[in-house]
């Protein structure tokens, strides 16, 4: 009996989730906003990934005097220590991107697991999970990350964990609200009566019905991950100093804003294009998936977060 359900759950539902993702995404990229967002994101991701292979100099080598204006040899000029700005820009994005992606995936997974569990198990588990979420939410996200960094030093895994833990309670709230509705539906009750274990019910019956809010949350969290990661790097809590990073570059070169603004403008522009890209794309996803023309993206968060 259970074996039968297990196979049906895996064979039928897993492709169904994938189908849903695809169906929504293919509609999103056909909207103007979706296409614009995707294009912006793709350009920056391409620069970040392919960039290191095209950097003309070593990103850490001191090649000329500090804050030289752009020239034929140094296309974007040099930075505060006399390193080639172009090389640093090309190599300074991929780690930031990877860390933001890792924090998003981790945060959404923890948050979704917590939110679904709270909604489905209810009772004491619900209270415990949501109270912990409240406590975590009382820390502004960047402040929480700073607290963790102050304890164990600016280690990269710790920063990823800190950002992910900052996302989790917000995701949990949204997903809990959505899962509460799903868990009351008759087919979930039907499966329960058949004796399917709770974990299975949550994974195979409830999760597939949360694809749309999860997509919107993931997009929103990705934007925030990049913002917080870059912000931490900007404050000096990211990669160790000689390594290039767009956030650090903006901070270390802003004293030379008048001599060579490009050392600040180009990394700032790349970060901006990236976050605007992901935000626009998420907005398109929300419009397509939820079908709310007038409801702004953050409203879903606001509504879910504003209650109890």
């Amino acid at each position: 009996m259970t074996a039968e359900i297990r196979t049906s759950a895996e064979d039928v539902l897993a492709p169904k989730i994938r189908g849903q993702w695809r169906a929504i995404l293919s509609r999103v990229v056909r909207t103007k906003r979706g296409a614009t967002g995707l294009a912006l994101t793709a350009v920056v991701v391409l620069v970040a990934i392919v960039g290191p292979f095209f950097s003309p100099y070593s990103p850490t080598a001191l090649v000329a005097l500090p804050f030289q204006r752009p020239s034929a040899t140094y296309l974007l000029g040099t930075d505060a220590l006399g390193r080639d700005v172009l090389s640093r820009v090309l190599s300074g994005g991929w780690l930031l991107l990877c860390m933001a992606l890792a924090a998003t995936i981790l945060g959404v997974c923890i948050g979704a697991a917590a939110g679904i569990s709270a909604a489905y198990i209810k009772g004491r588990a619900d209270g415990l999970i949501m109270r912990s979420a409240d406590v975590l939410l009382a820390f502004p996200q960047l402040v929480f990350a700073l607290l963790l960094v102050s304890i164990a030093g600016p280690k990269l895994w710790l920063i990823v964990l800190a950002v992910a833990l900052g996302h989790a309670p917000q995701v949990a709230r949204v997903i809990r609200a959505a899962a509460l509705d799903v868990s009351e539906r008759p087919y979930v009750r039907a499966v329960e009566i058949q004796g399917v274990p709770r974990r299975k019910v949550m994974y195979s019956e409830i999760l597939p019905n949360l694809v749309t809010p999860l997509m919107v949350e993931a997009g929103l969290r990705m934007t925030y991950s990049i913002v917080v990661m870059a912000g931490l790097a900007f404050l000096g809590f990211g990669q160790a100093p000689p390594d290039p990073n767009w956030g650090i570059m903006i901070n270390e070169n802003r004293v030379g804003l008048q001599s060579n603004p490009w050392a600040v403008v180009v990394p700032a522009l790349l970060i901006s294009l990236l976050t605007i890209g992901t935000n626009t794309f998420t907005d398109a996803v929300a419009r397509v998936a939820i079908g709310v023309e007038r409801q702004p993206v953050e409203l879903t968060t606001v509504v879910a977060g504003g209650q109890e």
């Binding site: 502004p140 402040v143 607290l147 008048q258």
Partner: protein
């Protein structure tokens, strides 16, 4: 306290008798205050435990290589590291309540002296940014709703999509580039305040930090205001007022506007919450002497007492703003007062 016991006695489903006896706003406020106190307490425990699990001995990590057994022992006594963890926590937390925050580890100054002036500076920044952000947001949202699908509406939609995505420091750098260093030279790029001066006595240093924060928060408020205003304008009561021949201006100011501000209050509150964290980066960029900047330098110096205190205070501010928002939103929308 009495309120609380009656609340508890009523159980999860308050009887009609209890509900009618107590004003619903008061009931919500008291429940929220209790929840808030518990949250702040838990936050303080988390902060304390987190900072106590410092790898290695805290005293050694502060004194570094110059540590001698005597100096370590002295510092341990000073930090009460020789006592149990609960006693340490109690000593620290009761100190906060008394206003005695210990001494900064980096310069031996008292934490109270270090942060009290900075608090005022940060409060000025947050309140100004919150006020102007709300003003601009509500106005822009209302205009966009009145001119729906016209150029202003589209411009707001696109620019808010972009602004909500940008990190604060990028907006700040953009403003510095534009108004301080490269294009115009109207304003200072950094907002230094000589000790003893208040920010209000030198308003020009406030312009760029406040403008940065306003640009960050106003799009959220504008979007919500626009949505709420459109809903109000399309509602039956506005339609009815129109049919009764009430002037468009009257309808706008006495019906649509008040009814759309109520749902917007939640979002305004959320943006004040954001400001509690957002000041960290903005103060750092402009060298503005507030608690955000103090937090960043404390983290750099691993100045634990300062970090502990600022984080707990920011969390407490967060909780208070949350409560105020809920209560104001409830007062603003009579319908929801009785919704359980």
């Amino acid at each position: 306290m009495e309120v609380l016991t009656s609340e508890l006695a009523a159980g999860p489903e308050p009887s009609i008798e209890v509900r009618s006896r107590k004003h619903p706003v008061l009931a919500l406020a008291s429940r929220r205050v209790m929840q808030g106190l518990v949250t702040v307490f838990l936050v303080s425990v988390v902060v304390f435990l987190a900072t106590e699990v410092l790898p290695g001995n805290a005293a050694y990590s502060i004194l570094g290589r110059s540590a001698t057994p005597e100096s370590i022992h002295k510092l341990e006594l000073q930090l009460h590291l020789d006592q149990g963890i609960v006693a340490q926590y109690w000593y620290w937390f009761s100190g906060i309540l008394r206003g005695d925050l210990g001494t900064s580890m980096s310069n031996g100054q008292s934490v109270t002296a270090l942060v009290s002036a900075r608090f005022l500076n940060s409060a000025v920044l947050v309140l100004l940014a919150g006020f102007f952000g709300t003003l601009v947001g509500v106005l822009a949202g209302a205009i966009a709703a009145l001119r729906r699908d016209r150029p202003f509406d589209h411009a707001l939609s696109i620019s808010s999509l972009a602004l909500t995505a940008l990190p604060e420091f990028v907006i700040a750098i953009g403003l510095v580039l534009l108004f301080a260093t490269n294009v115009f030279h109207w304003l200072p790029a950094i907002s230094l305040l000589p000790p003893g001066t208040t920010p209000l006595s030198r308003p020009h240093v406030l312009v760029l930090p406040v403008a940065t924060l306003v640009l960050v928060i106003f799009p959220y408020i504008a979007r919500m205001m626009r949505a709420a205003m459109i809903e109000a304008l399309e509602s039956d009561y506005v339609e009815m007022a129109r049919l009764q021949g009430i002037s468009a201006k009257r309808i706008l100011f006495f019906q649509a506007l008040p009814n759309s501000i109520a749902p917007t209050i939640q979002v305004i509150g959320l943006n004040f919450l954001y400001l509690a964290g957002g000041i960290v980066v903005v103060e750092y960029i402009f060298d503005y002497p507030g608690i955000g900047q103090a937090l960043v330098s404390a983290v750099n110096n691993r100045d634990i007492p300062v970090i502990q205190f600022i984080v707990v205070v920011l969390a407490a501010v967060y909780v208070v703003v949350n409560i105020v928002t809920d209560v104001v939103a409830l007062i603003g929308s009579p319908r929801r007062r009785y919704a359980q």
